[in-house]
């Protein structure tokens, strides 16, 4: 075993100390664990979460109807109709993104349990959210950030996020590319005994539930009904999971849960070369697909983000279309927001055209913008790294080679990801843990809940894989 492997053996022990969750007690089968039990043990109900967030200025963000973008969608639509598009302006949260919801509960919990500081491994908005919440609650903060390639060149967006964390007084550990970010992070946890404000803990996901709940409340108040669909930018799965759970808690059972990711297929996330060939650092398929098919690949033994349980549909959109939408949002609605948050808005623009004029479609986040987190520096950075940028048909995009800005709104479209295929991959990944080809009834029930497949379907798949149940 090398140094990395030796240290990673200690992973569970460090995690137990740093999140205070004994994950072993939820294990109920070979594959199964008590997910709802894990979520229940957060110990804060939706009303408590709301109160904790209200105390720190998180949540209750405005739901804005994008009337000009809706008009543009109708003009672009083949049928002439499109749903009314609304957006939750999550950039109104203290650190400028919905991630404040996620950080608020973890940081509150850390404070209540007497930790001196919090730490998180993230290159996204989450770092700034944890740092901001830590300041409000009087805790110290360390953020481990996958930041540079081996030449010490970093994406403007990641550099900006690191700056923001430091502006809140956090310590930022900037690392080169690689999944061993978690190694560096675990070492820090081990040294400092800080709280692990994991993106994937039950606290983080519980914090997002208010977002789904507010969407239903605000739509009912404004339009007298729930939205026909909510479009959610999907990366690690917490955004989809928390929002969907919040909608369920509001009894918005008829609302479709649609995940959207930027298509970065073919770019390996741990590649030193591919690292700076992508213009999106989050909300893309490099996270989206692996976290759907293997949610427990996170920094906690059991992730509370389990998107496949909730997704009704999953679509991809190209980088050029997201940049296009970022420009449209500024030009037509007077809202300058960061590109990464506009992934779901770009998707919603196309999806809205499948619905009637009376339907409501909600895009559930925006994020702050600024130098680095803006389409101009990101397009300039792409050009500097040899990526072709041109106006044309987004269907011609090749991730890592070019970015195509749509020549006309009518060609903005989404591609459906085959959910059945993802369910299949999920089961294949799960079965890697089974060495004797035998599962219990409880595991079958678990697989059915995890994949949104009925039990008979799951049993059929298991028979095909020579797995006995009993």
């Amino acid at each position: 075993m090398n140094e990395y492997e030796k240290f990673m053996v200690k992973k569970n022990e460090i995690m137990l100390k740093s999140v205070g969750i004994d994950f072993d007690k939820y294990e109920t089968g070979k594959l199964a664990f008590d997910y709802e039990g894990l979520m229940r043990d957060v110990g804060y109900c939706l009303q408590d979460v709301k109160a904790i967030q209200q105390e720190v200025g998180v949540g209750n963000t405005p739901l804005l109807e994008l009337k000009n973008i809706t008009t543009l969608a109708r003009k672009s639509s083949k049928t002439g109709t499109a749903a009314r598009i609304c957006v939750k302006d999550e950039s109104c949260n203290p650190s400028g993104s919905f991630k404040d919801r996620r950080a608020s509960i973890s940081v509150y919990d850390a404070m209540k349990r007497g930790y001196k500081g919090v730490a998180a491994a993230t290159s996204g908005n989450y770092g700034a959210a944890v740092a901001s919440q830590a300041n409000i609650r009087g805790l110290k903060c360390i953020i481990a950030n996958e930041c540079y390639d081996s030449r010490k060149v970093g994406q403007p967006e990641i550099l900006e996020k690191g700056r923001k964390c430091e502006s809140y007084g956090a310590e930022v550990i900037r690392l080169t590319v690689g999944p061993e970010l978690f190694y560096a992070f675990l070492k820090v946890l081990d040294d400092t005994e800080f709280y692990n404000a994991s993106l994937y803990s039950s606290f983080g996901v519980a914090g997002v539930e208010t977002l789904g709940y507010e969407i239903s409340e605000q739509c009912r108040e404004k339009f007298g009904k729930d939205p026909v669909a909510v479009v959610i930018t999907h990366a690690g799965g917490g955004n989809v999971t928390g929002t969907a759970r919040g909608l369920f808690k509001a009894d918005a059972a008829s609302t479709s849960i649609i995940g959207a990711s930027v298509d970065l297929s073919g770019l390996h996330m741990a590649s030193d070369i591919a690292f700076n060939k992508k213009s999106f650092t989050t909300g893309h398929t490099g996270f989206g697909i692996p976290f759907v098919t293997n949610p427990d690949r996170s920094d906690v033994p059991r992730s509370a983000a389990r998107p496949l349980r909730y997704l009704d549909r999953y679509v991809t959109i190209t980088q050029g279309e997201v940049f296009w939408m970022t420009e449209i949002l500024a030009q037509l609605e007077g809202m300058e927001r960061g590109p990464a948050g506009n992934t779901s808005l770009a998707a919603a623009f196309a999806i809205a055209q499948e619905y009637g004029d009376d339907d409501i479609i909600v895009v559930q986040e925006t994020e702050y913008t600024g130098a680095g987190k803006h389409l101009i520096p990101q397009l300039n950075f792409a050009k500097e790294n040899g990526i072709g940028v041109f106006v044309g048909d987004p269907q011609d995009q090749i991730p890592g080679k070019n970015i195509v800005i749509p020549s006309h709104p009518s060609i903005v479209s989404v591609k459906d990801v085959d959910l059945a295929g993802l369910r299949n991959s999920y089961i294949n990944n799960a079965l890697k843990k089974v060495h004797d080809n035998k599962l219990n009834e409880i595991d079958v029930k678990f697989l059915s809940e995890e994949t949104k497949m009925d039990k008979q379907e799951v049993l059929k798949v298991l028979v095909q894989r020579d797995i006995q149940v009993g």
Binding site: K140, P156, R163, E180, Y183, S271, P377, N380, I405
Partner: protein
């Protein structure tokens, strides 16, 4: 000379290539995993010296000094002509 107490950036090799995870792509595996940490140096030093720093949270970290008073240089940059049609075209389409 860099005076004791100056805000500096240090570089540390976290994992040498042979100690990296086995599952990563080859082009990454041949490089060390490096980290850069910022803090106030605990003694007088020069660029290239190994030095201890105290970070924003009071943690002590050790590495080679690579930058003095590191700043932020990301910006917006040049005009991007490929997005110039987007707003005008959309406004015309909705009759503005």
């Amino acid at each position: 000379m860099i005076n004791k107490g100056t805000w500096v950036e240090i570089e540390e090799v976290v994992l040498t290539p042979e100690n990296r995870a086995q599952t990563i792509p080859e082009e990454t595996k041949i490089t060390p995993l490096k980290a850069w940490i910022r803090g106030n140096c605990l003694e007088n030093c020069e660029r290239g010296d190994a030095v201890e720093v105290i970070t924003n949270v009071g943690r002590i970290a050790k590495g080679i000094v690579v930058e003095v008073e590191p700043g932020y240089y990301h910006t917006y940059g040049k005009y991007v002509k490929e997005i110039s049609h987007v707003g005008k075209q959309a406004r015309e389409m909705i009759g503005q």
